[in-house]
């Protein structure tokens, strides 16, 4: 089965401005050698801390930031014009209200894709009401403005706009950020329902592990602009092979007052992309780092069970996983 969208060896540089008329700028590598793919009807989760490049990756897939290297294929064909790609995909941005044009009524905003791509609709009003009904908003919302909506309502409007042209792929950047927990659940249920109804694929960018665990088929963990681990969600959560993934999962808060917080194996801050560490970029925080990690950068290596990991000394290669692999005797059973 050909992947719906596929990126290979993607690299993105930003320029740090400087010098007279901006001539003295230098390049910062935001993404390095990133390859991802999503199969039709599946959901890929992109997970990482702030600054890991997950949002940039999502934007680069639609050409919103230009890539320095790498190839993007959609439905098996290399993407030459992003306009065709953008017709069949949709992106939802982090801030539900700020991603709607402030002086455009919701009804006009969600039907804009029809005008942009010259797709016929019976009437703008009818199309707007149909889309609002799809996401469970009353049709009166067509004449409201973004600042009059709550976060959850604006998010629903964003979903409506994303689905206007019945895309094959929806890229959602933190779809639940800034929403109450109950509203988060509603939005996720809505997205799950629509995925089945309209046979959508999703790429969901998030740092919310509890959420992504339930909605994604595969996840890719990112650290400093590289994918460090990739695989089927359930298996990655059952036994992380990269020490970074293991510590991310261990740091996930658990709503149980009787459970005492485990000490985390990971310490320190994310290093600055201005000064990337030598060798394996995680060695500065890794509890298992050895001499080789400081000098030699590991490559993303295919491992068993359709998984890949970027580590010289992966954890849990054996089954069942040994708890001591987490560097903590009392690490909870996953």
């Amino acid at each position: 089965m050909t992947p719906l969208i596929e990126a290979e060896g993607l690299a993105v540089n930003f320029r740090a401005p400087g010098g007279f008329l901006g001539l003295g700028h230098h390049r910062l590598a935001i993404l390095e050698d990133v390859s991802v793919s999503v199969r039709p009807g599946k959901t890929l989760g992109l997970v990482g801390e702030s600054g890991s490049g997950k949002t940039t990756l999502a934007r680069a897939l639609l050409g919103l930031v230009s890539r320095a290297r790498g190839e993007i294929r959609f439905e098996g064909r290399p993407v030459d014009s992003f306009r065709r790609l953008r017709r069949k995909t949709a992106m939802m941005f982090q801030d539900p209200i700020a991603s709607l044009s402030p002086r455009l009524a919701i009804g006009s905003a969600i039907t804009e894709p029809f005008l942009i791509h010259g797709v016929a609709m019976t009437s703008r009003r009818a199309a707007a009401e149909e889309l609002l009904a799809l996401v469970g908003l009353p049709k009166e919302f067509a004449s409201r403005y973004p600042h009059e909506l709550s976060g959850g309502q604006a998010r629903r409007a964003g979903v409506a706009r994303a689905l206007a042209l019945r895309p094959a792929l929806v890229i959602a950047d933190e779809p639940t950020a800034g929403l109450d927990v109950s509203i988060q659940g509603e939005i996720l249920n809505l997205m799950t329902r629509l995925k089945a109804e309209l046979s959508l694929s999703y790429i969901i960018v998030t740092h919310n592990l509890a959420m992504i665990r339930h909605v994604s088929d595969r996840i890719a963990i990112m650290y400093l602009g590289r994918i460090v681990e990739e695989g089927p969600t359930a298996e990655v959560f059952a036994g992380a092979r990269h020490p970074y993934t293991a510590s991310l999962i261990a740091s996930e808060p658990i709503p149980d007052p009787r459970r005492r917080r485990q000490s985390l194996a990971i310490t320190g801050e994310v290093p600055s992309i201005l000064r990337r560490p030598s060798g394996c970029e995680f060695h500065t925080r890794c509890p298992h780092a050895q001499a080789r990690c400081r000098s030699e950068a590991p490559s993303l290596t295919k491992s068993t069970g359709g998984r890949s990991v970027r580590c010289h000394f992966p954890l849990n290669e054996r089954f069942p996983p040994k708890l001591s692999d987490f560097g903590d005797k009392e690490t909870r059973q996953l």
Binding site: L21, R59, L64, F82, R87, S101
Partner: protein
């Protein structure tokens, strides 16, 4: 959207100073528009027998050294002042808007070039620059409009550029790009309406500056040429006869005060009314 304009005016008048400003602005604009109908005399009619008179029933504000009716000249002066302000600021704001959007939304090198242009223009001392241009082109209304329009381009250009720069990275513009919207659509439908608000406020607050500038240059004899009534030239005429007939200076000073205060109050109230963060706070 006419209902939007009405709503904004309603909010402006909720502020007492805004209401005062609006009234003064309406008086000045009314005088400018209907100058011929409301002025009692032809402003150019010379009546040497009745020169330099104080206020009387026939001439409410007296006459100047040629016996011309001061009230009529002040009313027609409003037309000159408003005409110059509207044209010069209109041209300056229009060019500034286009250059500002080009700088903010265009490529980096164009931004650098335009910023350099804005900086160079605003580095020149205003009066010196005006004097130079007037020496080259000769004094007159057209020259005045040209000078004021030129020096106001960087002010509006910078504002629009800053506004555009912050908007182009905003999520709703990115969302438009992600949908595949064309450049004219993004700029025309999504960028422009959000840039115009601050521009309108700046324009309304710049009008008093331009009115005062026109009066200053005309007072110096570098602006509007003599037969045309301007508040600046009337002030100059009055200065000559300040000891014998001070009413002329006072009569020409009052409309200047009315116009500058009116537009300033109105502009400030407009700024508050258009600022969504202040919405409602002023109402109490």
């Amino acid at each position: 959207m006419p209902s939007g304009v009405l709503e904004i005016l309603k909010r402006v008048t909720r502020d007492p100073l805004g209401l005062l400003g609006l009234v003064l602005v309406v008086i000045v604009i009314g005088a400018a528009l209907f100058a011929d109908a409301i002025s009692p005399y032809d402003p150019a009619r010379i009546d040497v027998l009745n020169k330099l008179q104080g206020p009387s029933a026939a001439h409410w504000l007296g006459t100047d050294q040629l016996g011309r009716d001061t009230l009529s000249r002040i009313i027609h002066g409003a037309r000159v002042a408003m005409g110059i302000a509207v044209f010069s600021i209109g041209i300056g704001a229009f060019i500034g808007l286009i250059l500002g959007i080009l700088a903010g939304y265009g490529p980096r090198w164009l931004d650098a070039v335009l910023i350099f242009f804005f900086d160079s223009l605003s580095a020149i001392p205003l009066i010196l620059f005006a004097l130079t241009v007037i020496v080259i082109l000769g004094p007159g209304t057209g020259t005045l409009i040209f000078v004021i329009a030129l020096i106001s381009i960087p002010v509006y250009g910078r504002l629009v550029r800053a506004q555009t720069l912050s908007l182009r990275r905003s999520e709703f513009i990115l969302a438009e790009q992600s949908m595949g919207a064309s450049l004219p659509r993004i700029v025309g439908i999504h960028l422009l309406p959000n840039v115009l608000g601050p521009l309108v406020i700046l324009v309304s607050m710049d009008i008093p500056t331009v009115v005062a500038l026109e009066a200053a240059l005309s007072y110096l004899g570098l602006g509007v040429k003599p037969p045309t009534p301007s508040w600046g030239t009337i002030l100059n005429d009055g200065y000559v006869s300040l000891r014998t007939n001070p009413s002329l200076v006072i009569a020409a000073g009052i409309p200047l005060v009315i116009a500058t205060l009116g537009f300033t109050f109105f502009g400030e109230a407009l700024r508050d009314a258009l600022d969504p963060k202040l919405k409602g706070r002023r109402a109490s």
